[in-house]
Amino acid sequence: MDKKVNPLSLNSRSIKQKLMVAFQLMSILPFLVCIYLLSIYIFPKFGFKFDILLYLGISAFLAIVGLMVIKEVFDRLTSVTTEAKCIAAGDISRQLQVQHGDEVGELGNILNQLTQRIRSNMDELKDYSAKTAEINIAIQKKIMVLSNLMQISGFISEGSKFDQILKIAVEKLRSLANSEISFLLIKDELKNSFLMKVADGIQADYLMTIEIFAQEAIYEQLFNLHKLMILDAQNVLPDSLSLDLQAKLRVKNCLAMPIFLDASIKAVLGIANLQDNFSYNQEDIELLDIFSKQIAVAIENGILANRVEKLEIKDALTGLYNRCFIENRLQEEIKRAIAYQRPCAFIIFDIDDFKDYCGKFGLICAESALKEIAALILGCITDIDRAGRTDDDEFSLILPEKNKRQAQEIAEMICKKIQASFGMDQDGGKCLTFSAGVSENPLDGVQVEQLILKAKELLRKAKAGGKNRVMVF
């Protein structure tokens, strides 16, 4: 609102000015009127009198003293106002100097109390915000843990490689626990020992060489137990176990948790560091607990996948038998051959320079070549023979009732057919050849391993001899 200010109005003036006007009205003006009256009516009659001058002087002095008192009050008021303005502007560290017990002093006190309260409120607010920040960090950490766990779950459900999953889980545990070392020991049921499967952090290379055998004290008393193991500044292990563990792992503090499957220990997950006067907290234990459960799932999944793999007998790409089946079958055929005084032949074929072929023409082309080769091999053998793909570029044949000479004929026929189908005249130089090694029961042995070893040895000879050939001796 545009209000016109009257220059003569007192409303817009400060208290000081107002009081100055009031003082003048109350004391100086009546005083001046008195002097005027005295000088007009009384002084001419009595002449100059010293005592009247003295009264006047005293009156003037008193008036000035009164003025000074008022000024002092108002100066303080002004200073309080200035201080208040500063405080209002945000400078709450200011403290008013209160020396008098009057209203201005009280006002100063009240202002001081107010700023004090504001100050404490602000401190409280600061505390709250610090706490909120801490909570936020904790939440952030929990979210990190969860997202990492989700990622590991993802790997498990995607069917990623078992070792890869364990490695990622152990690495993540180390970074989330903010520990110098993390490790996973897997129990070897056959050897009755704990073998280091994954280690991450400092001295990981050393840790990977660790194996804890059943006869060591720490095996039964620390690792093969159904409970958490803590070694730090506050928790010292009984007997010499602390020293044993520190020497074995070369660490100072260690927190380890067993991983169970079907109520038996399968592995031990742990974190460790080399710090002095260090203690693990509840958070570390919880983190380890969560990860150990996740790893238990991964291990179980790995066992199941392994079981499924064992049950599979065919190679997915070519439809031929897989290595496991071929080896088992060869064992049976050898038994039968021995019982019936018959021979049984075994051939290993290997595609010459298949890696170069893959590099040149790509995986899709290579896979279709493998399929074609598989079909070609099947076309050359009888119903009682068994053909398998036993490695990336390796095929094996079991030929019951065939001796070395007959097997050699078949191997040579297959090599020739491969050469005819994938010969030099192929488009874009897509030629492929086969090398083969032929072994036989009983000539080369009565065990599967002996026949495989012999066939591989002959295959190496064929490769060394210039490839694209069959070796029988």
Partner: protein
């Protein structure tokens, strides 16, 4: 090398020569189906024929000479030509070697693949004699005691 191709099973040969009856052969074949094993050994186990009968039948039918191994000694040099595992699996024993000719005693000289294997192994041409299974087993035990 000229080799007489013959697919006639031993059981039928013995039947033709009147050494066993059809019923006995059927019983032996049933046993073979149930338990496995070689027909000659089954017939012997069942007591239908003697080992000598089989050897003589093979001799008469195919002209393989018969060699009673009981009182025959073989040089260690000769047995070393064939590894123990091959001798045991094919039930044969090398008995003599003259020049490039290796002489074998076999319980079943019709096992052409076994003969081929021995030829491949020794680089010799093989002459076969017929012997009884038990004689050959005894000989193998005697000469291949320490070997595989």
């Amino acid at each position: 090398m000229i080799r007489r191709i013959n697919n006639k099973p031993l059981g039928e040969l013995l039947l033709e020569r009147g050494i066993i009856s059809q019923a006995q052969l059927d019983q032996a074949l049933d046993t073979q189906r149930d338990k496995g094993g070689l027909i000659g050994e089954i017939l012997v186990d069942l007591g239908f024929v003697k080992e000598d009968d089989i050897a003589q039948a093979l001799t008469a039918q195919y002209g393989f000479p018969y060699l009673p191994l009981g009182n025959y000694d073989v040089d260690a040099d000769i047995t070393a030509i064939i590894p123990g595992r091959v001798a045991r699996q094919y039930l044969l024993v090398p008995i003599d070697k003259i020049g490039n000719n290796l002489t074998l005693a076999m319980s079943n000289p019709l096992n052409v693949q076994a003969i081929e294997d021995v030829e491949l192994l020794s680089g010799c041409s093989v002459q076969t004699f017929v012997s009884t299974s038990s004689d050959i087993k005894k000989a193998i035990e005697k000469y291949y005691k320490d070997k595989e």
